[in-house]
Protein backbone atom coordinates (compact mmCIF):
# COMPACT_ATOMS: atom_id res chain seq x y z
CA UNK A 1 0.00 0.00 0.00
CA UNK A 2 1.24 3.45 -0.82
CA UNK A 3 1.95 5.73 2.10
CA UNK A 4 -0.35 8.48 0.85
CA UNK A 5 -3.16 5.94 0.77
CA UNK A 6 -2.36 4.81 4.29
CA UNK A 7 -2.52 8.41 5.51
CA UNK A 8 -5.91 8.82 3.89
CA UNK A 9 -7.24 5.63 5.50
CA UNK A 10 -5.93 6.69 8.91
CA UNK A 11 -7.43 10.16 8.57
CA UNK A 12 -10.78 8.69 7.49
CA UNK A 13 -10.84 6.39 10.50
CA UNK A 14 -10.19 9.30 12.86
CA UNK A 15 -12.79 11.45 11.14
CA UNK A 16 -15.36 8.71 11.62
CA UNK A 17 -15.02 9.17 15.41
CA UNK A 18 -14.66 12.91 15.63
CA UNK A 19 -15.43 13.38 19.31
CA UNK A 20 -13.23 10.51 20.41
CA UNK A 21 -10.35 11.61 18.19
CA UNK A 22 -10.81 15.22 19.32
CA UNK A 23 -10.60 14.34 23.00
CA UNK A 24 -7.53 12.22 22.41
CA UNK A 25 -5.90 15.05 20.47
CA UNK A 26 -6.79 17.39 23.34
CA UNK A 27 -4.77 15.26 25.76
CA UNK A 28 -1.70 15.53 23.55
CA UNK A 29 -2.37 19.19 22.82
CA UNK A 30 -2.41 20.12 26.51
CA UNK A 31 0.81 18.20 27.11
CA UNK A 32 2.65 19.84 24.23
CA UNK A 33 1.33 23.31 25.09
CA UNK A 34 2.46 22.82 28.69
CA UNK A 35 5.96 21.88 27.53
CA UNK A 36 6.21 24.92 25.26
CA UNK A 37 4.90 27.37 27.87
CA UNK A 38 6.83 26.06 30.87
CA UNK A 39 10.10 25.71 28.97
CA UNK A 40 9.43 29.18 27.57
CA UNK A 41 9.05 30.63 31.06
CA UNK A 42 12.19 28.88 32.29
CA UNK A 43 14.19 30.02 29.28
CA UNK A 44 12.80 33.54 29.55
CA UNK A 45 13.85 33.74 33.19
CA UNK A 46 17.38 32.74 32.23
CA UNK A 47 17.56 35.29 29.44
CA UNK A 48 16.24 37.94 31.80
CA UNK A 49 18.92 37.17 34.39
CA UNK A 50 21.60 37.27 31.70
CA UNK A 51 20.25 40.56 30.44
CA UNK A 52 20.23 42.06 33.93
CA UNK A 53 23.72 40.86 34.79
CA UNK A 54 25.13 42.02 31.49
CA UNK A 55 23.20 45.28 31.88
CA UNK A 56 25.27 46.16 34.95
CA UNK A 57 28.26 47.01 32.79
CA UNK A 58 31.10 45.22 31.13
CA UNK A 59 34.03 43.23 32.55
CA UNK A 60 32.82 43.65 36.12
CA UNK A 61 34.19 41.96 39.21
CA UNK A 62 32.01 42.02 42.29
CA UNK A 63 34.11 41.84 45.47
CA UNK A 64 32.60 41.03 48.85
CA UNK A 65 33.42 39.15 52.05
CA UNK A 66 32.23 35.59 52.23
CA UNK A 67 32.72 32.21 50.63
CA UNK A 68 29.68 32.06 48.43
CA UNK A 69 30.03 32.73 44.77
CA UNK A 70 26.71 34.48 44.58
CA UNK A 71 25.81 36.05 47.88
CA UNK A 72 23.14 38.28 49.25
CA UNK A 73 24.46 41.42 50.95
CA UNK A 74 26.58 40.19 53.81
CA UNK A 75 25.48 41.30 57.24
CA UNK A 76 28.96 41.50 58.67
CA UNK A 77 31.69 43.22 56.70
CA UNK A 78 35.22 43.84 57.82
CA UNK A 79 36.03 45.88 54.72
CA UNK A 80 36.94 49.51 55.29
CA UNK A 81 38.06 52.46 53.19
CA UNK A 82 41.66 51.35 53.89
CA UNK A 83 40.89 48.09 52.11
CA UNK A 84 39.38 50.02 49.23
CA UNK A 85 42.60 51.99 48.88
CA UNK A 86 44.57 48.74 48.90
CA UNK A 87 42.36 47.38 46.14
CA UNK A 88 42.78 50.62 44.17
CA UNK A 89 46.55 50.06 44.37
CA UNK A 90 46.13 46.51 43.05
CA UNK A 91 43.90 47.72 40.23
CA UNK A 92 46.11 50.71 39.55
CA UNK A 93 43.21 53.02 38.62
CA UNK A 94 40.80 54.59 41.13
CA UNK A 95 38.22 55.19 38.40
CA UNK A 96 37.74 51.43 37.99
CA UNK A 97 36.73 50.81 41.61
CA UNK A 98 33.27 51.32 43.07
CA UNK A 99 32.12 50.69 46.62
CA UNK A 100 28.85 50.41 48.44
CA UNK A 101 27.59 50.70 51.97
CA UNK A 102 23.85 50.48 52.24
CA UNK A 103 21.06 51.04 54.69
CA UNK A 104 17.29 51.29 54.52
CA UNK A 105 16.29 54.82 55.44
CA UNK A 106 13.30 57.14 55.28
CA UNK A 107 13.80 59.99 52.83
CA UNK A 108 11.56 63.03 53.10
CA UNK A 109 10.85 66.04 50.94
CA UNK A 110 8.29 68.40 52.42
CA UNK A 111 5.35 66.20 53.41
CA UNK A 112 6.29 63.37 51.06
CA UNK A 113 8.39 60.50 52.33
CA UNK A 114 9.63 57.15 51.11
CA UNK A 115 11.46 54.27 52.72
CA UNK A 116 14.25 53.43 50.33
CA UNK A 117 17.69 51.98 49.98
CA UNK A 118 20.34 54.62 50.68
CA UNK A 119 23.76 53.68 49.29
CA UNK A 120 27.07 55.28 50.17
CA UNK A 121 29.16 55.19 47.02
CA UNK A 122 32.21 56.66 45.35
CA UNK A 123 32.03 59.22 42.55
CA UNK A 124 33.38 56.48 40.25
CA UNK A 125 30.13 54.52 40.32
CA UNK A 126 28.89 55.80 36.97
CA UNK A 127 32.25 54.87 35.39
CA UNK A 128 32.13 51.30 36.74
CA UNK A 129 28.45 50.54 36.22
CA UNK A 130 26.14 51.58 33.43
CA UNK A 131 24.06 54.28 35.12
CA UNK A 132 22.64 57.25 33.20
CA UNK A 133 21.25 60.41 34.73
CA UNK A 134 18.09 62.05 33.47
CA UNK A 135 18.85 65.40 35.11
CA UNK A 136 21.52 67.16 37.17
CA UNK A 137 24.89 65.58 37.69
CA UNK A 138 26.43 62.74 39.65
CA UNK A 139 28.51 62.91 42.81
CA UNK A 140 31.99 64.35 42.41
CA UNK A 141 35.28 63.40 43.95
CA UNK A 142 35.26 66.46 46.16
CA UNK A 143 31.74 65.47 47.37
CA UNK A 144 33.33 62.21 48.56
CA UNK A 145 36.52 63.74 49.91
CA UNK A 146 34.70 66.41 51.92
CA UNK A 147 31.72 64.22 52.88
CA UNK A 148 29.16 66.63 51.41
CA UNK A 149 25.49 66.05 52.09
CA UNK A 150 24.43 65.69 48.49
CA UNK A 151 22.26 62.98 46.99
CA UNK A 152 21.37 61.47 43.62
CA UNK A 153 17.84 60.03 43.53
CA UNK A 154 16.61 56.96 41.72
CA UNK A 155 13.79 57.76 39.30
CA UNK A 156 11.11 56.11 41.43
CA UNK A 157 12.27 57.95 44.54
CA UNK A 158 12.27 61.26 42.65
CA UNK A 159 8.75 60.59 41.38
CA UNK A 160 7.50 59.68 44.87
CA UNK A 161 8.99 62.71 46.57
CA UNK A 162 8.68 65.40 43.96
CA UNK A 163 6.13 64.27 41.38
CA UNK A 164 6.23 66.87 38.60
CA UNK A 165 8.38 69.34 40.55
CA UNK A 166 12.07 69.80 39.82
CA UNK A 167 14.12 67.73 42.30
CA UNK A 168 17.59 69.01 41.37
CA UNK A 169 18.60 71.72 43.83
CA UNK A 170 15.79 70.80 46.24
CA UNK A 171 16.29 69.65 49.83
CA UNK A 172 15.56 66.19 51.21
CA UNK A 173 16.19 64.73 54.61
CA UNK A 174 17.68 61.30 55.01
CA UNK A 175 17.37 59.83 58.50
CA UNK A 176 16.66 63.35 59.64
CA UNK A 177 19.73 64.91 58.06
CA UNK A 178 19.40 67.49 55.29
CA UNK A 179 20.75 66.70 51.85
CA UNK A 180 20.74 68.63 48.59
CA UNK A 181 19.61 66.76 45.49
CA UNK A 182 22.21 67.12 42.72
CA UNK A 183 20.93 64.60 40.20
CA UNK A 184 18.27 62.08 39.24
CA UNK A 185 18.97 58.72 37.63
CA UNK A 186 17.31 57.65 34.40
CA UNK A 187 14.99 54.65 34.96
CA UNK A 188 16.93 51.38 34.67
CA UNK A 189 14.70 48.69 36.17
CA UNK A 190 15.42 45.53 38.10
CA UNK A 191 18.90 44.20 38.62
CA UNK A 192 19.30 40.79 40.27
CA UNK A 193 16.26 41.19 42.44
CA UNK A 194 16.99 44.79 43.40
CA UNK A 195 14.86 47.66 42.14
CA UNK A 196 17.65 49.95 40.98
CA UNK A 197 15.23 52.83 40.51
CA UNK A 198 14.35 52.74 44.22
CA UNK A 199 17.74 53.93 45.50
CA UNK A 200 19.45 57.07 46.68
CA UNK A 201 23.22 57.52 46.19
CA UNK A 202 25.19 59.66 48.62
CA UNK A 203 28.97 59.97 49.09
CA UNK A 204 30.37 56.94 50.92
CA UNK A 205 32.11 59.15 53.46
CA UNK A 206 28.85 60.93 54.27
CA UNK A 207 27.05 57.60 54.48
CA UNK A 208 29.52 56.12 56.95
CA UNK A 209 29.06 59.13 59.18
CA UNK A 210 25.25 58.99 58.78
CA UNK A 211 25.04 55.25 59.50
CA UNK A 212 27.65 55.45 62.25
CA UNK A 213 29.93 52.86 60.71
CA UNK A 214 33.25 52.62 58.95
CA UNK A 215 32.45 49.44 57.07
CA UNK A 216 32.12 48.87 53.33
CA UNK A 217 29.61 46.23 52.20
CA UNK A 218 31.00 45.42 48.81
CA UNK A 219 33.23 46.59 46.02
CA UNK A 220 32.99 46.37 42.30
CA UNK A 221 35.91 46.59 39.90
CA UNK A 222 35.76 47.11 36.17
CA UNK A 223 38.62 45.18 34.60
CA UNK A 224 40.33 46.64 31.53
CA UNK A 225 39.43 43.61 29.43
CA UNK A 226 37.92 40.15 29.57
CA UNK A 227 41.21 38.26 29.43
CA UNK A 228 42.74 39.69 32.58
CA UNK A 229 39.58 39.79 34.66
CA UNK A 230 40.06 36.44 36.43
CA UNK A 231 43.68 37.22 37.22
CA UNK A 232 42.74 40.63 38.59
CA UNK A 233 40.06 39.04 40.74
CA UNK A 234 42.57 36.58 42.18
CA UNK A 235 45.03 39.36 42.98
CA UNK A 236 42.33 41.42 44.73
CA UNK A 237 41.22 38.42 46.81
CA UNK A 238 44.87 37.67 47.68
CA UNK A 239 45.46 41.25 48.83
CA UNK A 240 42.27 41.32 50.93
CA UNK A 241 43.07 37.92 52.43
CA UNK A 242 46.54 39.16 53.35
CA UNK A 243 44.99 42.13 55.15
CA UNK A 244 42.28 40.00 56.85
CA UNK A 245 43.74 36.49 57.27
CA UNK A 246 40.68 35.25 59.17
CA UNK A 247 38.09 36.27 56.54
CA UNK A 248 37.30 34.74 53.20
CA UNK A 249 36.64 37.01 50.21
CA UNK A 250 35.08 36.47 46.86
CA UNK A 251 35.58 38.23 43.56
CA UNK A 252 33.10 36.97 41.00
CA UNK A 253 32.75 37.93 37.36
CA UNK A 254 29.49 38.53 35.55
CA UNK A 255 30.07 35.33 33.58
CA UNK A 256 30.33 33.41 36.84
CA UNK A 257 27.13 34.96 38.16
CA UNK A 258 25.38 34.13 34.91
CA UNK A 259 26.85 30.64 35.04
CA UNK A 260 25.59 29.95 38.55
CA UNK A 261 22.17 31.58 38.15
CA UNK A 262 21.84 30.17 34.64
CA UNK A 263 22.67 26.72 35.98
CA UNK A 264 19.98 26.98 38.64
CA UNK A 265 17.46 28.24 36.10
CA UNK A 266 18.41 25.49 33.63
CA UNK A 267 17.65 22.89 36.27
CA UNK A 268 14.39 24.69 36.98
CA UNK A 269 13.58 24.73 33.27
CA UNK A 270 14.20 21.00 32.98
CA UNK A 271 12.10 20.31 36.07
CA UNK A 272 9.25 22.31 34.51
CA UNK A 273 9.74 20.49 31.21
CA UNK A 274 9.67 17.15 33.01
CA UNK A 275 6.41 18.03 34.78
CA UNK A 276 4.92 19.08 31.46
CA UNK A 277 6.37 15.91 29.96
CA UNK A 278 4.31 13.84 32.39
CA UNK A 279 1.12 15.36 31.01
CA UNK A 280 2.40 14.65 27.51
CA UNK A 281 3.01 11.07 28.58
CA UNK A 282 -0.55 10.82 29.89
CA UNK A 283 -1.72 12.12 26.53
CA UNK A 284 0.34 9.39 24.86
CA UNK A 285 -1.32 6.74 27.02
CA UNK A 286 -4.66 8.10 25.81
CA UNK A 287 -3.49 7.70 22.21
CA UNK A 288 -2.36 4.12 22.83
CA UNK A 289 -5.70 3.36 24.43
CA UNK A 290 -7.69 4.81 21.54
CA UNK A 291 -5.65 2.96 18.93
CA UNK A 292 -6.21 -0.28 20.87
CA UNK A 293 -9.94 0.43 20.86
CA UNK A 294 -9.79 1.29 17.18
CA UNK A 295 -8.08 -2.03 16.39
CA UNK A 296 -10.58 -3.94 18.51
CA UNK A 297 -13.55 -2.26 16.81
CA UNK A 298 -12.31 -3.01 13.35
CA UNK A 299 -11.35 -6.66 13.56
CA UNK A 300 -13.64 -7.41 10.64
CA UNK A 301 -12.21 -4.61 8.55
CA UNK A 302 -8.72 -5.90 9.31
CA UNK A 303 -9.79 -9.42 8.31
CA UNK A 304 -11.31 -8.17 5.08
CA UNK A 305 -8.29 -6.07 4.20
CA UNK A 306 -6.09 -9.09 4.78
CA UNK A 307 -8.36 -11.27 2.64
CA UNK A 308 -8.04 -8.86 -0.28
CA UNK A 309 -4.26 -8.77 -0.03
CA UNK A 310 -3.09 -6.48 2.78
CA UNK A 311 0.23 -7.57 4.21
CA UNK A 312 0.73 -7.52 8.01
CA UNK A 313 2.85 -4.43 7.51
CA UNK A 314 0.10 -2.61 5.58
CA UNK A 315 -2.31 -3.10 8.48
CA UNK A 316 0.30 -2.14 11.09
CA UNK A 317 1.23 1.03 9.20
CA UNK A 318 -2.43 2.01 8.92
CA UNK A 319 -2.92 1.93 12.70
CA UNK A 320 0.49 3.37 13.46
CA UNK A 321 -0.37 6.34 11.28
CA UNK A 322 -3.59 6.80 13.22
CA UNK A 323 -1.51 7.19 16.36
CA UNK A 324 1.01 9.47 14.67
CA UNK A 325 -1.78 11.56 13.17
CA UNK A 326 -3.46 11.99 16.56
CA UNK A 327 -0.24 13.11 18.22
CA UNK A 328 0.91 15.10 15.20
CA UNK A 329 -2.30 17.12 15.10
CA UNK A 330 -2.18 17.46 18.88
CA UNK A 331 1.46 18.50 18.62
CA UNK A 332 0.90 21.23 16.05
CA UNK A 333 -2.18 22.57 17.83
CA UNK A 334 -0.35 22.34 21.16
CA UNK A 335 2.58 24.34 19.80
CA UNK A 336 0.13 26.95 18.54
CA UNK A 337 -1.58 27.15 21.93
CA UNK A 338 1.73 27.05 23.79
CA UNK A 339 3.25 29.88 21.75
CA UNK A 340 0.09 31.95 22.14
CA UNK A 341 0.00 31.31 25.88
CA UNK A 342 3.70 32.20 26.22
CA UNK A 343 3.12 35.47 24.36
CA UNK A 344 0.14 36.28 26.60
CA UNK A 345 2.18 35.48 29.73
CA UNK A 346 5.07 37.63 28.53
CA UNK A 347 2.76 40.52 27.63
CA UNK A 348 0.53 40.53 30.70
CA UNK A 349 2.79 39.46 33.55
CA UNK A 350 6.28 40.25 34.81
CA UNK A 351 7.21 36.64 34.03
CA UNK A 352 9.32 36.67 30.91
CA UNK A 353 8.47 33.83 28.51
CA UNK A 354 10.60 33.14 25.49
CA UNK A 355 9.60 30.55 22.91
CA UNK A 356 12.73 29.01 21.46
CA UNK A 357 12.84 26.94 18.29
CA UNK A 358 14.38 24.07 20.20
CA UNK A 359 11.55 23.86 22.74
CA UNK A 360 9.04 23.80 19.87
CA UNK A 361 11.06 21.16 18.03
CA UNK A 362 11.46 19.17 21.24
CA UNK A 363 7.74 19.28 22.04
CA UNK A 364 6.77 18.27 18.52
CA UNK A 365 9.42 15.57 18.30
CA UNK A 366 8.44 14.14 21.67
CA UNK A 367 4.75 14.17 20.75
CA UNK A 368 5.36 12.29 17.50
CA UNK A 369 7.69 9.90 19.31
CA UNK A 370 4.95 9.37 21.88
CA UNK A 371 2.57 8.65 19.00
CA UNK A 372 4.88 6.07 17.50
CA UNK A 373 5.52 4.52 20.91
CA UNK A 374 1.80 4.51 21.70
CA UNK A 375 0.84 3.11 18.32
CA UNK A 376 3.49 0.51 17.76
CA UNK A 377 2.12 -2.19 20.06
CA UNK A 378 -1.55 -1.99 18.98
CA UNK A 379 -0.46 -1.62 15.35
CA UNK A 380 1.80 -4.64 15.56
CA UNK A 381 -1.03 -6.64 17.11
CA UNK A 382 -3.39 -5.57 14.35
CA UNK A 383 -0.87 -6.59 11.72
CA UNK A 384 -0.41 -10.03 13.26
CA UNK A 385 -4.13 -10.67 13.62
CA UNK A 386 -5.23 -14.03 12.18
CA UNK A 387 -7.55 -13.14 9.27
CA UNK A 388 -9.82 -16.13 9.94
CA UNK A 389 -10.36 -15.04 13.53
CA UNK A 390 -10.75 -11.41 12.47
CA UNK A 391 -13.38 -12.20 9.85
CA UNK A 392 -15.40 -14.37 12.22
CA UNK A 393 -15.65 -11.68 14.91
CA UNK A 394 -18.85 -9.73 15.22
Amino acid sequence: MRLAEAWRVAADALRANRLRSGLTVLGVLIGVAAVVVLVGIGTGARYEVERQVEGLGSNLLLVFPGETTVAAAPTLSRLSMADVEAVVRVVGDRDRVAVQVGSGEIVRAGTASRFTSVLGVLDTTTQVFVRDLSRGSYLTRSDVDTARRVAVLGSRVADALFGDREPVGAQVTIAGVRFRVVGVFAPIGQGLGVDRDDQVHIPVTTAQRLFGTDRIDAMAVRAPDRDTIRDLGDRIVAELSRRHPDTAFSAVTQDEIIGVLGGILSVLTWVLAAIAGISLLVGGVGVANIVLVSVRERFREIGLRKAVGARPRDIAVQFLLEAVLLTGVGGVAGIGLGVAAALVVAATSPVPAVVTWWSVALAFGVSVAVGVAAGVVPAHRAGRLDPVVALRSE
Binding site: M1, R2, E5, D12, A16, R300, E301, G303, L304, R305, K306, A307, V308, G309, A310, R311, P312, R313, D314, D386, P387, V388, L391
Partner: protein, 224 residues
Amino acid sequence: MRVPAVEAEGLTRSYRMGDTVVHALRGVSLRVDPGEYVAVVGPSGSGKSTLMHLLGGLDRPTSGRLVVAGRDLSTLSANQLAHLRSTAIGFVFQSFYLLPRTSAVDNVALPLVYQGVPARVRRQRAAALLGQVGLAHRLTHRPNQLSGGEQQRVAIARALVTEPSLVLADEPTGNLDTATGRAVLELLESRCAEAGVAVVLVTHDREVAARAHRVIQMRDGQVV
Protein backbone atom coordinates in the same frame (compact mmCIF):
# COMPACT_ATOMS: atom_id res chain seq x y z
CA MET B 1 -2.23 -29.29 -19.98
CA ARG B 2 -3.46 -26.26 -18.08
CA VAL B 3 -2.28 -25.43 -14.57
CA PRO B 4 -5.14 -26.28 -12.17
CA ALA B 5 -6.63 -23.40 -10.19
CA VAL B 6 -6.47 -25.52 -7.06
CA GLU B 7 -4.69 -28.76 -6.36
CA ALA B 8 -4.90 -30.20 -2.86
CA GLU B 9 -3.62 -33.51 -1.55
CA GLY B 10 -4.27 -34.96 1.90
CA LEU B 11 -5.08 -31.63 3.54
CA THR B 12 -5.55 -31.76 7.28
CA ARG B 13 -6.18 -28.98 9.73
CA SER B 14 -6.30 -29.44 13.50
CA TYR B 15 -6.95 -26.86 16.17
CA ARG B 16 -6.19 -27.04 19.80
CA MET B 17 -9.18 -25.87 21.83
CA GLY B 18 -8.26 -25.99 25.46
CA ASP B 19 -7.19 -29.54 26.20
CA THR B 20 -8.83 -31.13 23.18
CA VAL B 21 -7.59 -31.21 19.62
CA VAL B 22 -10.25 -30.59 16.99
CA HIS B 23 -9.64 -32.19 13.62
CA ALA B 24 -11.48 -29.85 11.27
CA LEU B 25 -10.08 -31.47 8.13
CA ARG B 26 -8.96 -35.07 7.99
CA GLY B 27 -7.27 -35.51 4.65
CA VAL B 28 -9.00 -33.69 1.81
CA SER B 29 -7.81 -33.99 -1.78
CA LEU B 30 -9.36 -32.08 -4.63
CA ARG B 31 -8.57 -30.44 -7.90
CA VAL B 32 -10.35 -27.48 -9.51
CA ASP B 33 -9.54 -26.55 -13.09
CA PRO B 34 -9.67 -23.03 -14.49
CA GLY B 35 -13.22 -22.03 -15.38
CA GLU B 36 -14.67 -24.88 -13.34
CA TYR B 37 -17.59 -24.22 -10.98
CA VAL B 38 -17.52 -26.40 -7.87
CA ALA B 39 -19.94 -26.40 -4.94
CA VAL B 40 -18.84 -27.67 -1.55
CA VAL B 41 -21.78 -28.83 0.54
CA GLY B 42 -22.17 -30.39 3.93
CA PRO B 43 -23.66 -29.80 7.36
CA SER B 44 -22.30 -27.28 9.84
CA GLY B 45 -18.99 -28.40 11.30
CA SER B 46 -18.18 -30.59 8.32
CA GLY B 47 -15.09 -28.52 7.55
CA LYS B 48 -16.41 -26.47 4.60
CA SER B 49 -15.32 -23.13 5.98
CA THR B 50 -11.95 -24.43 7.09
CA LEU B 51 -11.37 -25.78 3.58
CA MET B 52 -12.29 -22.42 2.10
CA HIS B 53 -9.93 -20.54 4.42
CA LEU B 54 -7.13 -22.89 3.39
CA LEU B 55 -7.87 -22.51 -0.32
CA GLY B 56 -7.95 -18.74 0.12
CA GLY B 57 -4.58 -18.60 1.82
CA LEU B 58 -6.11 -17.15 4.99
CA ASP B 59 -5.00 -20.18 6.97
CA ARG B 60 -2.33 -22.87 6.59
CA PRO B 61 -2.91 -26.64 6.60
CA THR B 62 -1.53 -28.75 9.43
CA SER B 63 -0.32 -31.21 6.81
CA GLY B 64 -0.84 -32.00 3.14
CA ARG B 65 0.06 -30.26 -0.08
CA LEU B 66 -1.87 -27.27 -1.41
CA VAL B 67 -1.11 -25.52 -4.70
CA VAL B 68 -3.17 -22.46 -5.70
CA ALA B 69 -2.58 -20.72 -9.04
CA GLY B 70 0.64 -22.71 -9.45
CA ARG B 71 2.08 -21.64 -6.08
CA ASP B 72 2.76 -24.15 -3.31
CA LEU B 73 1.34 -22.40 -0.25
CA SER B 74 3.68 -24.15 2.19
CA THR B 75 6.66 -22.36 0.62
CA LEU B 76 5.14 -18.86 0.90
CA SER B 77 5.91 -16.30 3.60
CA ALA B 78 3.11 -14.23 5.17
CA ASN B 79 3.82 -11.40 2.72
CA GLN B 80 3.92 -13.75 -0.29
CA LEU B 81 0.65 -15.27 0.87
CA ALA B 82 -0.84 -11.76 1.05
CA HIS B 83 0.40 -11.14 -2.48
CA LEU B 84 -1.20 -14.38 -3.68
CA ARG B 85 -4.53 -13.35 -2.10
CA SER B 86 -4.18 -9.96 -3.69
CA THR B 87 -3.50 -11.20 -7.22
CA ALA B 88 -4.97 -14.68 -7.62
CA ILE B 89 -7.93 -15.02 -5.25
CA GLY B 90 -11.26 -13.25 -4.87
CA PHE B 91 -13.55 -13.65 -1.88
CA VAL B 92 -17.34 -13.30 -1.63
CA PHE B 93 -18.69 -13.56 1.92
CA GLN B 94 -22.14 -14.29 3.29
CA SER B 95 -22.26 -10.94 5.13
CA PHE B 96 -20.76 -9.00 2.20
CA TYR B 97 -18.07 -7.39 4.40
CA LEU B 98 -18.08 -4.04 2.67
CA LEU B 99 -16.29 -1.19 4.41
CA PRO B 100 -18.84 1.16 5.98
CA ARG B 101 -18.63 4.89 5.20
CA THR B 102 -16.93 3.96 1.94
CA SER B 103 -18.49 4.35 -1.50
CA ALA B 104 -19.26 1.35 -3.70
CA VAL B 105 -16.52 2.30 -6.13
CA ASP B 106 -13.91 2.58 -3.37
CA ASN B 107 -15.04 -0.72 -1.87
CA VAL B 108 -14.55 -2.41 -5.23
CA ALA B 109 -11.19 -0.69 -5.67
CA LEU B 110 -9.92 -1.77 -2.22
CA PRO B 111 -7.92 -4.86 -3.39
CA LEU B 112 -6.10 -2.68 -5.92
CA VAL B 113 -4.91 -0.44 -3.06
CA TYR B 114 -2.68 -3.27 -1.90
CA GLN B 115 -1.27 -3.73 -5.40
CA GLY B 116 -0.16 -0.11 -5.42
CA VAL B 117 -2.44 0.84 -8.31
CA PRO B 118 -2.84 4.65 -8.55
CA ALA B 119 -6.16 5.98 -7.30
CA ARG B 120 -7.37 7.20 -10.70
CA VAL B 121 -6.75 3.85 -12.40
CA ARG B 122 -8.33 2.04 -9.46
CA ARG B 123 -11.52 4.04 -9.71
CA GLN B 124 -11.73 3.51 -13.46
CA ARG B 125 -11.40 -0.24 -13.14
CA ALA B 126 -13.77 -0.38 -10.18
CA ALA B 127 -16.35 1.70 -12.03
CA ALA B 128 -16.07 -0.60 -15.05
CA LEU B 129 -16.62 -3.67 -12.85
CA LEU B 130 -19.61 -2.04 -11.15
CA GLY B 131 -21.02 -1.42 -14.64
CA GLN B 132 -20.64 -5.11 -15.43
CA VAL B 133 -22.61 -6.09 -12.30
CA GLY B 134 -25.34 -3.59 -13.19
CA LEU B 135 -24.52 -0.94 -10.59
CA ALA B 136 -23.26 1.84 -12.85
CA HIS B 137 -25.83 4.12 -11.20
CA ARG B 138 -24.66 3.30 -7.68
CA LEU B 139 -20.95 4.22 -7.81
CA THR B 140 -20.92 6.75 -4.99
CA HIS B 141 -23.51 5.06 -2.80
CA ARG B 142 -22.41 3.76 0.56
CA PRO B 143 -23.21 0.22 1.74
CA ASN B 144 -26.01 1.44 4.03
CA GLN B 145 -27.66 3.08 1.01
CA LEU B 146 -27.68 -0.21 -0.95
CA SER B 147 -30.00 -3.23 -0.74
CA GLY B 148 -28.63 -6.62 0.28
CA GLY B 149 -28.54 -7.83 -3.31
CA GLU B 150 -26.77 -4.66 -4.42
CA GLN B 151 -24.22 -5.00 -1.62
CA GLN B 152 -23.45 -8.58 -2.68
CA ARG B 153 -23.05 -7.45 -6.28
CA VAL B 154 -20.56 -4.83 -5.09
CA ALA B 155 -18.73 -7.65 -3.27
CA ILE B 156 -18.68 -9.73 -6.47
CA ALA B 157 -17.22 -6.78 -8.37
CA ARG B 158 -14.60 -6.45 -5.62
CA ALA B 159 -13.72 -10.15 -5.91
CA LEU B 160 -13.21 -9.83 -9.66
CA VAL B 161 -11.45 -6.45 -9.86
CA THR B 162 -7.97 -7.99 -9.54
CA GLU B 163 -8.73 -10.54 -12.31
CA PRO B 164 -8.11 -13.54 -10.04
CA SER B 165 -7.87 -17.16 -11.19
CA LEU B 166 -10.01 -18.40 -8.28
CA VAL B 167 -13.12 -16.98 -6.62
CA LEU B 168 -14.15 -18.38 -3.24
CA ALA B 169 -17.75 -17.75 -2.25
CA ASP B 170 -18.88 -18.59 1.30
CA GLU B 171 -22.68 -18.86 1.43
CA PRO B 172 -23.04 -15.85 -0.89
CA THR B 173 -26.83 -16.09 -0.89
CA GLY B 174 -27.21 -16.85 2.81
CA ASN B 175 -28.36 -13.35 3.71
CA LEU B 176 -30.53 -12.80 0.61
CA ASP B 177 -34.09 -13.79 -0.26
CA THR B 178 -34.54 -16.52 -2.85
CA ALA B 179 -35.14 -14.33 -5.90
CA THR B 180 -32.33 -11.92 -5.09
CA GLY B 181 -30.05 -14.84 -4.25
CA ARG B 182 -30.76 -16.46 -7.61
CA ALA B 183 -30.00 -13.20 -9.44
CA VAL B 184 -26.72 -12.77 -7.53
CA LEU B 185 -25.72 -16.36 -8.32
CA GLU B 186 -26.52 -15.91 -11.99
CA LEU B 187 -24.34 -12.83 -12.03
CA LEU B 188 -21.48 -14.59 -10.24
CA GLU B 189 -21.69 -17.56 -12.61
CA SER B 190 -21.85 -15.48 -15.78
CA ARG B 191 -19.05 -13.11 -14.79
CA CYS B 192 -16.77 -15.97 -13.76
CA ALA B 193 -17.55 -18.06 -16.82
CA GLU B 194 -16.80 -15.09 -19.03
CA ALA B 195 -13.48 -14.40 -17.32
CA GLY B 196 -12.53 -18.11 -17.14
CA VAL B 197 -12.32 -17.95 -13.36
CA ALA B 198 -12.63 -21.07 -11.24
CA VAL B 199 -15.34 -20.81 -8.59
CA VAL B 200 -15.53 -22.71 -5.34
CA LEU B 201 -18.85 -22.05 -3.67
CA VAL B 202 -19.54 -23.19 -0.13
CA THR B 203 -23.20 -23.70 0.76
CA HIS B 204 -25.55 -25.95 2.58
CA ASP B 205 -28.39 -25.07 0.21
CA ARG B 206 -28.92 -28.06 -2.14
CA GLU B 207 -30.68 -25.89 -4.71
CA VAL B 208 -27.68 -23.55 -4.90
CA ALA B 209 -25.27 -26.47 -5.08
CA ALA B 210 -27.23 -28.05 -7.90
CA ARG B 211 -26.25 -25.20 -10.22
CA ALA B 212 -22.54 -26.10 -10.04
CA HIS B 213 -20.68 -28.28 -12.54
CA ARG B 214 -19.61 -30.52 -9.72
CA VAL B 215 -20.62 -30.97 -6.10
CA ILE B 216 -18.19 -31.95 -3.38
CA GLN B 217 -19.94 -33.42 -0.37
CA MET B 218 -18.20 -33.06 2.97
CA ARG B 219 -18.80 -34.72 6.30
CA ASP B 220 -16.64 -34.76 9.47
CA GLY B 221 -13.68 -33.16 7.75
CA GLN B 222 -13.59 -35.49 4.79
CA VAL B 223 -14.90 -35.55 1.26
CA VAL B 224 -17.59 -38.27 0.92
